[in-house]
Subunit: 491 residues, 2 copies
Amino acid sequence: MQQNLYLYNSLKRTKELFTPITPGYVGLYLCGPTVYGPPHLGHARPAVVFDILNRYLHHLGYKVRFVRNVTDVGHLENDADEGEDKIARKARVEKLEPMEIAQLYTDNYHEEIEKLNVLKPSIEPRASGHIIEQIAMISQIMENGFAYESNGSVYFDVVKYNATNHYGKLSGRVLEELIAGAGEERRELEGQEEKRNRVDFALWKKASPEHIMRWPSPWSDGFPGWHIECSAMSGKYLGETFDIHGGGMDLLFPHHECEIAQSVGATGKDPVRYWMHNNMITINGQKMGKSLGNFINLSELYAGSHKLLEQAYSPMTIRFFILQAHYRSPLDFSNEGLKAAEKGMKRMLNAKALLPKLKTSATSTSKISDVIDSCYEAMNDDLNTAIAMASLFEGARIINSVYAGTETITAADLDSLSKFFTLFVEEVLGLKEEALGDDSSVDGLMSIILELRKDVKAKKDFAASDKIRDMLLALGYKIKDEKDGATWTRE
Amino acid sequence: MQQNLYLYNSLKRTKELFTPITPGYVGLYLCGPTVYGPPHLGHARPAVVFDILNRYLHHLGYKVRFVRNVTDVGHLENDADEGEDKIARKARVEKLEPMEIAQLYTDNYHEEIEKLNVLKPSIEPRASGHIIEQIAMISQIMENGFAYESNGSVYFDVVKYNATNHYGKLSGRVLEELIAGAGEERRELEGQEEKRNRVDFALWKKASPEHIMRWPSPWSDGFPGWHIECSAMSGKYLGETFDIHGGGMDLLFPHHECEIAQSVGATGKDPVRYWMHNNMITINGQKMGKSLGNFINLSELYAGSHKLLEQAYSPMTIRFFILQAHYRSPLDFSNEGLKAAEKGMKRMLNAKALLPKLKTSATSTSKISDVIDSCYEAMNDDLNTAIAMASLFEGARIINSVYAGTETITAADLDSLSKFFTLFVEEVLGLKEEALGDDSSVDGLMSIILELRKDVKAKKDFAASDKIRDMLLALGYKIKDEKDGATWTRE
């Protein structure tokens, strides 16, 4: 912890020296996934960005309690169905118990995100598992006069809160304008008539008779509003005021603004000292959106099976690509960018592999301490992984030059460079050599084989197509022909 | 579902034809781990045994909702510390938040158990996430007069319950003897003076001031008793009466007996139609016990790092070993037994690998349908995997003989045998070739692709052969054509 780490605090709109509440310990909360569908590119960036924060804090010697929640209930969406619970809706479609959907996609999220070498959180609380804590917090807010019941639902009284506090301190939104304005970004359309003001937001919603996910409460059988879970769970596991809260910029308003209001409304204390937000991902310059058909699932990226992809990209390529940009810059996904990342990563890992082969000399032609210092400087300057990686590439250049005999390095310098390079690449940035036989290679090879099989079937060469099937079967791969192509499973 | 599956019902002490409540659907609940330590051999058997049940039910065409809980709170132990919560105790020792311990060992359990090729449950509820449901059930039991509050804790009134119901129907215990007896097996020593009768068990415990895991309730800030979670969670996700409840024989009394009493006490209905219990594991003939120092963690088994182990045993060897015994027989772990299992598994998988290489004849020397029928018969006879595996070994013997030319098989018989053998080994028994490093998959898939390329080149379809080369190149595989075929390298 001899390093001075500066972090951009969205609350103060400036970089600040990071000092934890308890010396040596950091409480970190990250808004996790809503588990009603497979994880996509939009999930990858915050997961990787805050994994870097977590890893770097560890590296600096902090003990980090990293809490990342699972939203398995209560996330209402501003869709045609006007505020129906995302998970319950999917459940009705597939005739499953909502918790079965939540479990499936929680497992799926873990699997795909962990391929990106994202470390597991210390605690992963589920919203549905903390209804009591949410009810207790809502009661506290009501006792303090900042929430009211209306027809079995409970709403946060934003106007009343704003009279003695500042609603908008994080987002810079002005309440009067929000009340007057078009009300963009409000997530709930349902229940407007129950509210004192259109800016008020739900803390508890009474469940309609057909709503499956419901719990008893002092107000109704219902379910918590979307915002309250993060306030209740972060408070439970990290305390009423904790160090760092992270999430995507899209969550800054209203979600995080509401989190602040809820915590101040309940405890009188600001919940978070440093608010950090990663910027968004675009796809070939376009915003990601369901209607645009450019949502790419992580499994599609790994297999190269989305129409926008020219090839498969391994999890490490995607991780590397995300780290090549500073987390507060927008990041545009393109085949060119990903291919460049693939090459860059190879270059970095190849250099690392050369380290044990370097010969030492009496003098060093490059100043190794400069490379190391500039890397730490970049990380300490609001986790600027883009510049940190440039330092690492400078290190790679030196390694290659020494190997080629065009530069020299002393034994002491080589020792420093080796330790630094290995540590940063592996532990801090979390980049690792991908197993030759990792799933993405298998995915890629399997898609080639299935494509070849499609070709022979198109030529009505069924002997060849059966041969392919049988050879795969002998290896333990089973092909299933479906309407829009073949899928495979491995036993 | 043309098969008639008979299961031994502990409740009836006899084998019964299995018929589900809803045709085509099965609700299955299994008592999962208490997550306060790494998973050991004792966790492996129920996990594998009920995985077989889950897989076989799937194979028979049922849609199974498989619920396996995580006990992350409320499991009291009869130790020197007299009823302290296992997780909270460990938490104090390591100065961690209890939920951090629970998360760590939940993750650990998943990792080690999934190596055994145990399929994930459809829903994996956590006890701490279902406090509301447990409180609601306790309230219901109190309303029905079968529980009473005492000093902020709530106890189940076993004597009163037994006046109109039968406490002991599952275990065969006789209440009078339990009251008179030494009270062996009771898990709670604390709070005896609060009970009307020593056989009463806690539904809710008032937390002592230093107890960290606690929730508000109508009776006290406290935590649920051990037994109530399974009743509340199985009821929530499977209904008041569901098909099958599984667990180790050690849980039959008092845990499962209490589950029945709780459900009948709350709903008036018997909760479970088929109770299934796996027998215990011994180590070199001895019971497993902390004091005996013969608790072997799964990670130790996989690494061969426990003093009782002569070598490492792969997860598949352990799975195979467990399946070689019928689940209701005791199973003694020994190095000899494990080594024999290792050999047996190789023999079975080798035979499977020979299947595509067998030549067919006009007649079959063995009656293949007998082999298949006897395997189904064994599975239908209370999941007798021991005998089912004997049938598979008979299949393996035939395969080897046909391969050696000492027996013959018709094309139709070979087709039946291949399908049956592969299906049973892989899907029903869940045995798979262990990654010899996953490189073997890449090798295998690459040789398929090179073979296909040879085929198209033989047909002078150079467009196709170039396409294959280019697709491989995009994945980073480079083909080199040489005199006696092509070789490949990966960049």
